[in-house]
């Protein structure tokens, strides 16, 4: 009782003596979650306001080498000493479709210690006195591990016995970092193989080994645990070229690309009405279907066998995913064809074309999946050399064919759709195209002229671009591809005559010389305008070096290279490479030999502390330093606008990057597809999400107050009319209405306008419900004495409404408004997620999440999901705050 009394008096006290503001404050003090929400919101809004200051990188700046880069690791210790925060140069990429993560990492040693002393590295050149070491790595070069793996398979049976069986030692060559971090770091790696598939596979697919196992465990149901141990035995790291490793794959790739291009062109080219068109359609359809199916089979191969051998359930999932992707492509193709058929229906042979369509695009495009699986299983069972079969399929996988199909497809669709868009949009498409091209350059070991030219031509033909730079870029690409032709000729000749350790005859020498001359002449004439082409050229020349290394042809060759150098004076990086090439050829022995070893050295030291001793023994290299890039606070970097107004370069944190190394970035939350900093984008996106709620809420409640107030105050016909209107708006399903209203407004407008439209749409949907509640409240307040008194005095209606009626709804409004805001935030996020809201390159949390839609991307770049957490916490905080406010103001007492 006593407690009750105390409570009562407290409530009384609050009601009698405290202002609304004090009430709210007291409620927040009591309501811990509300307080938490309030703090979160304060932080969020501060982040939004100081977005420019908080972003270490420009949120729009693309950096393709960092596509899907994981959060940058920040180190503190260097060689055992604490040196403060620093980062290392990094590059990363997740290949979307090949199911294999390719992770490239560049190392930029600062100095290297050998028996000669310390080589200092400056601008990619290592120097000690007059002696120079060339140390310049480009994308084209990779590091391979050559090592033996000691594999053993172990199992425990259900009755608790343990068996371990060693495999034959395996000699392999693998991409260094693409292999397995665990293996490299610890020296051993254990893979658990507990899926039923794995058990069956192990018991039946390993030849003699399986027999032995089977004799032990009888049946797979007896196996309790199964694992595979891999132990790294001997490591030998080599610099190696990826180029020309699998020409078959390249051929295949080109074929597919060419096929797709052909198809695209034939779809786009005017289809002449009348005779012959149905046949043509059939042709195109059949071609595409064949292509897709072939690709499907090939990409499935590897995945399925992976699953079989490793019992890897993920691999099975991947197959499903792959097939889904392909089916998706198939469906796209189908759609395209259906569009075509729509065009054709008006032809004379309408009936015929329809039946053709039905044949061509079988309803069951999905059945392809089953077919393909069967195909692979059969193939695997029939294959005489199973290991070889698997290896071949791995090669095929590496080609990532589906990527190209998809890329072309998407591009095509976009281009067709956005053909009439403003220049800005067109630019965006081009940028994307080029992005994809560069990606393909990075990962396809070769530059693919076919695809590039197809897309470039298409862009030009559609009149999508007026950009002189683009044209010159195309010119550049054309030049490069012509140069490549010459180079390929050169390489052919070299390959014919050049055998390691053999000196070419005089006649052969002449041929080589003329080929070289041709090459040089061509190269001399070229003038390039873009950096990307330069690096392309670099890689050509780099690969030239690869095959020339065997030749010890003396100074005459050097002369030609010298001429190349003179012809390419303006390309500094090419020059330095050529110099090193020349040095190699004329046999500056020790340098050419120590070069790869040094790279190996530095790399191992960086990635592989455990094998340090192996490397250091007797190789001439004692130690090395690598460049570190300090993380600094209050650093000056890109130019943003402080508080939307003042240009400022000052940022809260960033990396000190004095030599402008493009590989050095600090992504605290990883990077997205285009290598843009996720954190910076989140920060900028918060401006949209956080403001759209508030503005939308203000507009909604403004509308609701006017409508609800008038209708509640005057009643009668006005009331009837307004409430029916509100009812009708409420009875159109909300999300449909949202999308429908969005569809009402043009799609291709700048993000700022979209933003305004979104606010408008969201408010338009929201006002109906609120205005009904306000009407009810006004109705009840109107009957109160003080309102009647005000009317009796003769105050005009507007004054009564504004001064006496509406202010009494404030408490309700405050609470309802706070609880309404999340709706707007979620609405904007959903629309943007669907691609109907804010558009690229601008950022919004919903739009950023849309990037993670692809399961494969999401799996390997989970940091793309972070924006969702921001939405979550913002909405949660608004709910908490609303809850606390409700406690304070208890709107129930107000009806």
């Amino acid at each position: 009782m006593a407690e009750d009394k105390k409570k009562l008096t407290e409530v009384e006290f609050e009601e009698t003596y405290l202002s609304r503001r004090q009430l709210i404050w007291r409620a927040f003090k009591k309501h811990k979650l509300g307080m938490f929400g309030l703090w979160v919101l304060v932080v969020m809004y501060l982040i939004a306001i100081f977005a420019d200051f908080l972003s270490p990188h420009n949120p729009y700046e693309q950096s393709l080498i960092h596509s899907y880069a994981p959060p940058t690791p920040i180190h503190f210790k260097y060689k055992g000493h604490f040196v403060g925060m620093y980062v290392l140069p990094s590059v990363s990429f997740i290949d979307k479709f090949t199911s294999e993560r390719k992770f490239y990492e560049m190392l930029f040693p600062k100095d290297i210690y050998t028996n000669d002393g310390k080589y200092e590295i400056n601008n990619g050149i290592a120097k000690i006195g007059n002696k120079t070491l060339k140390f310049n790595r480009k994308n084209g070069e990779e590091v391979y591990f050559e090592f033996t793996i000691d594999k053993s398979i172990g199992l425990t049976t259900k009755d608790g016995k343990r068996y371990e069986l060693p495999f034959e030692k395996e000699y392999t060559k693998r991409l260094l970092i693409g292999y397995n971090d665990g293996l490299l770091k610890k020296g051993t790696i254990r893979i658990d193989l507990n899926s039923p598939t794995a058990k069956t596979a192990v018991l039946s697919n390993f030849g003699d080994f399986s027999k032995r196992l089977r004799s032990i465990v009888k049946s797979e149901s007896n196996i309790d645990k199964l694992w595979l141990d891999e132990k790294l035995e001997k490591i030998d790291v080599k610099w190696a070229r990826t180029v020309s490793k699998n020409i078959k794959v390249d051929e295949f790739k080109n074929k597919v690309v060419e096929g797709v291009r052909k198809w695209m062109e034939s779809v786009l080219k005017p289809l002449k009405e009348g005779e012959g068109s149905t046949e043509r359609l059939r042709e195109v359809g059949a071609e595409v279907e064949k292509m897709v199916l072939a690709d499907f089979n090939r990409s499935l191969d590897k995945g399925y066998i992976d699953a079989l051998i490793n019992g890897d359930e993920m691999a099975i999932n991947r197959i499903v995913l792959n097939s889904k992707n392909l089916v998706k492509i198939g469906v796209d193709v189908k759609k395209k064809l259906e569009e075509l058929s729509a065009k054709l229906t008006r032809l004379k042979s309408a009936g015929e074309s329809e039946s053709v369509m039905r044949d061509m695009v079988r309803e069951e495009f999905y059945s392809m999946g089953r077919e393909a699986v069967n195909l692979i299983v059969n193939g695997y069972e029939k294959a005489s050399d199973k290991k070889q079969y698997i290896e071949n399929t791995i090669d095929l996988l590496a080609s990532g064919v589906s990527d190209y199909i998809d890329v072309c497809n998407l591009r095509l669709e976009k281009m067709v759709k956005e053909m009439k868009y403003e220049e800005r949009k067109a630019e965006g498409i081009i940028r994307e195209c080029l992005t994809n091209l560069m990606r393909s350059e990075m990962f396809g070991s070769r530059y693919m002229p076919g695809e590039t030219m197809a897309i470039a031509n298409m862009l030009v033909n559609f009149g999508l671009i007026d950009d002189p730079n683009f044209k010159s870029r195309i010119e550049d690409y054309k030049k490069v591809s012509s140069l490549r032709e010459v180079y390929e000729n050169l390489q052919k000749i070299l390959g014919k005559f050049a055998r390691p350790g053999r000196r070419p005859s005089k006649e052969q020498m002449k041929k080589i010389q003329s080929a070289l001359e041709d090459f040089v002449n061509k190269a001399e004439k070229m003038k390039f305008s873009t950096e990307s082409v330069n690096s392309e050229l670099d890689s050509i020349i780099m690969s030239a070096r690869g095959s020339l290394r065997y030749l010890r042809m003396g100074r005459s060759v050097y002369y030609y290279y010298k001429r190349i150098l003179d012809g390419l004076k303006d390309i500094s990086s090419a020059k330095s490479i050529l110099e090193s090439v020349a040095a190699n050829i004329v046999g500056v022995g020790e340098i050419s030999f120590s070069y790869p070893k040094l790279g190996e050295m530095a790399f191992k030291k960086y990635r592989l502390e455990t094998v340090k001793s192996i490397v250091l023994n007797g190789k001439g290299v004692k130690d090395y330093d690598y460049k570190i890039y300090k993380v600094r606070f209050f650093i000056r970097s890109w130019e943003g606008k402080f508080l939307w107004l003042f240009p400022s370069r000052l940022h809260l944190f960033g990396v000190e990057n004095p030599d402008d190394n493009p590989y050095v970035k600090i992504f605290i939350m990883g990077a997205d597809q285009f290598g843009r900093d996720v954190w910076s984008r989140i920060v900028f996106a918060s401006r949209i999400s956080l403001s759209i709620g508030i503005i939308g809420m203000v507009i909604t409640f403004g509308l609701a107050l006017v409508f609800g107030g008038i209708s509640g105050y005057y009643g009668g016909l006005i009331d009837e009319f307004m409430m029916r209107t509100a009812e009708i708006i409420m009875s159109i399903p909300g999300f449909y209405l949202l999308i429908m209203l969005r569809a009402l407004l043009p799609m291709d407008i700048p993000s700022t306008q979209i933003y305004m439209l979104l606010v408008f749409i969201l408010s338009f949907i929201g006002w109906a419900g609120t205005s009904r509640v306000i009407r009810g409240m006004v109705l009840s307040i109107r009957r109160r004495e003080f309102v009647e008194a005000a009317i009796a005095i003769g105050l005009p209606d507007s004054k009564v409404l504004m001064r006496h009626v509406l202010p009494n709804t404030t408490s309700f409004l405050i609470v309802a408004a706070t609880l309404r805001i999340p709706g707007y935030i979620l609405g904007e996020a959903s629309l943007s997620y669907l691609g109907l809201g804010i558009r690229e390159p601008d950022a919004s949390w919903g739009l950023m999440l849309a990037q993670a839609q692809d399961v494969y991307v999401m799996q390997h770049a989970p940091w793309l999901l972070i924006p969702g957490a921001f939405i979550f916490f913002t909405v949660l905080s608004f709910n908490f705050v609303g809850d606390a406010l409700r406690d304070a103001l208890d709107p129930r007492s107000l009806g």
């Binding site: 159109i732 449909y736 009402l744 799996q859 999901l865 939405i871 949660l876 908490f880």
Partner: protein, 328 residues
């Protein structure tokens, strides 16, 4: 009972009659919005230089796009009254056939998430109200707040992420690749298996909201005088809660039920997209983007009818469980 039953029937009939002009206005509004949207279905062909103007003209005539919108609407209305939902421009199939083909998947998904959110929501709501301020109540409160705050599509993505990484659940679609080779029992299991994640993604928000409401409603009722009286009378606690408190607490929930019914056919556009669920949501979304007018109209009308009927059902149910409420 007889007079009451009669009055209910009268009430239903009256409501259904009021529904007609309302639906009429909604359909008109939707049609006008679709018409006012820039461009029309044929725009994609107009952009294509390979399509001749004559062909376009004939297509326009065939689809009826050359007539003034009022006339178009009139034609649509006439068709609808004779049970013809029109013809989809894009799929070149009758709309009714298209929707009918997709309805199954959507209904399965909606019903399962409906049951998920309602059963779980009510049970946990009651539980947390009865164990007020206990640790369980606090945990459930946090779950509920998270459920309300988490965007459906984000939850779906998270679930997808978990599924992709663990392989416990299928990532997308409604059936496995080898579905057609399964026995009937296996097929059922297969669909259920695929259903789990979309159900959670779709139903979690509703579950959280329902739980909060149920908890609040029950707590309110437990503070009422008649509950105190029932306790004072010496009734066993079980009886007090299940006979007196719960029955009264559930009344406000009934109104919700109506709204949930209305959402059964159209609430899952994004979820269906993410999980590649072959339901109506995706169809309608595509239709909206492509301005496939009759398809949009049909689905909007279906949803609107569901909404109105849902409200009606809610009112009737409310009257059924709460004798204080009279239908007028």
């Amino acid at each position: 009972m007889q007079p009451r039953g009669e009055s209910v029937l009268k009430y239903i009939i009256r409501r259904l009659i009021i529904m007609i002009p309302e639906l009429f206005v909604i359909s008109f509004l939707v049609f006008m919005i679709m018409w006012a949207a820039p461009g029309d279905f044929l725009d994609q062909y107009r952009m294509d230089p390979s399509v001749s103007p004559q062909f376009l003209e004939s297509l326009e005539k065939e689809l009826g796009l050359d007539k003034p919108p009022i006339v178009q609407y009139g034609i649509w209305l006439k068709d609808i009254l004779t049970g013809n939902f029109g013809y989809s421009f894009y799929y070149r199939q009758p709309v009714s056939k298209l929707i009918w083909g997709r309805v199954f998947a959507t209904v399965i998904l909606s019903l399962s998430s409906f049951f998920f959110s309602w059963t779980l929501g009510i049970i946990t709501g009651v539980f947390s109200a009865l164990k007020k301020y206990s640790i369980w109540d606090k945990i459930l409160t946090v779950v509920a707040f998270s459920g309300i705050a988490i965007p459906g599509f984000f939850l779906a993505l998270l679930l997808l992420y978990i599924a992709a990484n663990t392989g416990w659940f299928p990532i997308s679609g409604m059936v496995s690749i080898n579905h057609s080779q399964m026995s009937a029992g296996e097929r059922f299991k297969d669909i259920m298996w695929h259903l789990i994640l979309p159900t959670i993604a779709l139903g979690f928000g509703g579950f959280a909201t329902l739980m909060r409401y149920m908890r609040g409603s029950l707590l309110d009722v437990l503070n009422e005088d008649y509950v105190t009286f029932a306790r004072a009378k010496g009734l066993p606690e079980r009886k007090v809660i299940y006979k007196h408190a719960l029955r009264n607490a559930i009344n406000p929930m009934i109104t919700f039920l109506g709204y949930s019914i209305s959402g059964l056919l159209g609430g899952a556009v994004i979820i269906e997209n993410i999980f590649a669920w072959p339901g109506m949501g995706r169809l309608v979304y595509q239709a909206l983007i492509q301005q496939d007018v009759y398809l949009v109209m049909a689905s909007a009308m279906i949803s609107a009818v569901m909404l109105v009927i849902g409200n009606l059902i809610a009112d009737i149910l409310l009257a059924a469980v709460d004798p204080r409420v009279r239908l007028e």
